[in-house]
């Protein structure tokens, strides 16, 4: 089972690195917001894998909170981008 954990967590770490590089590289705020949304999904996947392999039940509570807060953050950034576009 730990083999599964190593393989999937390394894949997810790679996905997270690609996401962070995407946040740094893109110039437009909307692109960065999409990359941030992707990062929350990747971290949720990582928490679920950790909970499954090592019976770490705390990860599930963390994943719920991350889902809620990540959603609110996405919406807030979307509103902010909208108001910025209106200002121009």
């Amino acid at each position: 089972m730990t083999v599964v954990a190593y393989v999937s967590l390394s894949l997810l770490a790679l996905a997270a690195v690609v996401g962070v590089v995407s946040i740094a590289k893109r110039s437009h705020l909307g692109d960065r917001a999409v990359a941030f949304d992707m990062l929350t999904s990747v971290v949720t996947c990582g928490l679920l894998v950790g909970a499954g392999v090592w019976q770490e039940v705390l990860n599930l509570d963390l994943a719920v909170v991350l889902g809620l807060l990540g959603f609110v953050a996405s919406l807030t950034i979307a509103r902010f981008v909208e108001s910025q576009v209106e200002q121009e």
């Binding site: 997810l12 996905a15 690609v18 909307g30 992707m38 999904s41 894998v49 019976q55 959603f71 919406l75």
Partner: protein, 97 residues
């Protein structure tokens, strides 16, 4: 008998979790390769949601108590419902093709 059930459960969980991680990696690569912002939102909603679903089912199979399985169901439903709404609001704000 119990041993075989345990092995099958572990194998199914492992396969689900690894395929979920592969999908998450594909979604991240999609952020890079697709051209416009709205096309990148396609990558955020579809493979990432399926990845969370598969990882969640894989984790739920390993959980012992009912409350843990319910929490996994809550996580999956949260991801399934919030991903399209977030993409919709962001695409309205961003515009473009």
């Amino acid at each position: 008998m119990n041993d075989i059930v345990q092995i099958i459960r572990d194998v199914v969980s492992g396969v689900l979790m690894i395929s979920g991680s592969i999908l998450a990696l594909l979604a991240s690569l999609g952020l890079f390769r697709l051209a416009t912002t709205r096309a990148r939102m396609h990558a955020t909603t579809k493979p990432a949601t399926l990845g969370v679903l598969l990882c969640g089912v894989g984790a739920a199979l390993q959980m012992a108590s009912t409350s843990d399985v319910t929490k996994v169901v809550v996580i999956i439903v949260l991801q399934l419902v919030t991903a399209p709404i977030g993409a919709h609001m962001l695409s309205r704000a961003v515009g473009g093709k």
